[in-house]
Symmetry: C2
Subunit: 250 residues, 2 copies
């Protein structure tokens, strides 16, 4: 199972990197973090990682793949709460709750690192500096949720889609090796509709609008931002909620 060990290491690397963006880790801290990833799991496309109402026994770190969090209504309507990209913890916010209030699911085949809840709680209890960073992580997550609420509650379809693209651009840019302002969004238009509170058909027409204005281009699921400033202007996009080191000080 050499492959598995490698993936655990990869998860650990992501994890350490996440913390090292904020502080210099002590040997002790590195040690305890390195032991936090108990396992990895591999999921197929469009599968649930953990479901609403399930007990929270572990936190998940996305090593590779594209995921989301969503809630369902009894009649099948679905609201996607956030997209989760590699290197991110997908559910730090439920660490302190006993049961999931939403579901985490994959879009693409996904590798996740499993961080048992007890391990994390132990770290939180004994390593205040690490606790603070995890907590901060959840705070950023929640700021994003708030911005999504504004998005869905106040913005028009065009503004909403523009805003989402701006957000994804900023969040994925650190990984963008091409320097072409492009990123992968392996999600159908219907799924984007679930994220933005719009129908699939309307997502389609809104994309056409954005393309016609020369703001974006896409081939398949790869989207390229042609004019970020104009897009951000339409979206009234203010990146400060992302607390991204690209924009804010730090």
């Amino acid at each position: 199972m050499a492959g598995k060990f490698q993936a655990v290491d990869l998860a650990t690397m992501h994890l350490l990197r996440k913390f090292e963006r904020h502080i210099e880790l002590s040997a002790n801290e590195r040690n305890v973090l390195a032991k936090a990833v108990s396992d990895i799991k591999v999921y197929g496309p469009h599968s649930d990682i953990i479901r609403e109402s399930e007990r929270v026994s572990a936190i998940h770190l996305i090593v590779d793949g594209f995921c989301c969090r969503y809630k369902l209504l009894p009649d099948g309507r679905r609201q996607i709460i956030s997209f989760v990209i590699p290197g991110e913890l997908c559910d730090p916010g439920v660490l302190m709750l006993d049961r999931m209030d939403h579901t985490i699911a994959t879009f693409t085949p996904t590798i996740v690192g499993i961080l048992p809840r007890e391990s994390i709680l132990e770290i939180v209890a004994n390593f205040p500096r690490l606790a603070k960073i995890i907590w901060r992580d959840t705070a950023v997550d929640d700021a994003i949720t708030r911005e999504w609420l504004v998005n869905v509650g106040q913005r028009t379809a065009l503004e909403r889609l523009a805003h989402l693209l701006c957000e994804l651009h900023v969040r994925t840019r650190p990984n963008d090796k091409t320097g072409q302002n492009q990123f992968n969004l392996p999600v159908t238009q219907a799924e984007l509709g679930d994220a933005l509170g719009l129908s699939a058909v309307h997502i389609n027409r809104t994309f056409q609008d954005l393309r016609a204005q020369g703001l974006i281009e896409n081939s398949g699921k790869t989207y390229r931002i042609m004019d970020f400033d104009a897009l951000a202007n339409i979206a009234m996009f203010n990146p400060s909620y992302l607390q991204s080191s690209d924009y804010g000080r730090e």
Copy 2:
């Protein structure tokens, strides 16, 4: 300033009670919490307590009054993120952020307890049990935000308003001395529109619909739920996200 000292005590009492809902406090813990409320402030109606982009220098505990958190778009559109009722911390989630990503404001004249950020951070660093409860508090807050996102993104106007009323009913019920399933919502219809992503006019018509169905009654800002089950049914209201001891185990 006897009045002020009393209010500080009142704030402290709310604070202690909040923690005692979860654990038995040690003398030491009680002590440190009792010192956390450094001051109280009184705000008039419709005034901002702390604004978006301001430094987070303190956390606010609502002692008396009715408040909300909101975000503005540059063109004036507003999305209310949550309502805050007495006994609640209004911004635990930003504790770990340097700057506010939203504004906290009053509807009614309001008394708030000021908890300096450094005091809280010190408590968080040195009293893991207390840290956990604060953290859990933020987690519940965020679960509510997620449900609001579902509300605005997926539900119709009627469902949205019904859902909000269900939520407020459950959250205020512990304070409802009348046993009449009623609560105060000192907010205009336009403001409800800002919370639900609807126009004031449409809120008005939706209220008429709910009243015509015999689901609610109101005189002024006092709303009374006449048929909670039917209301919850329309709203597809599942209270588990509130983690309320009235519903969940605990």
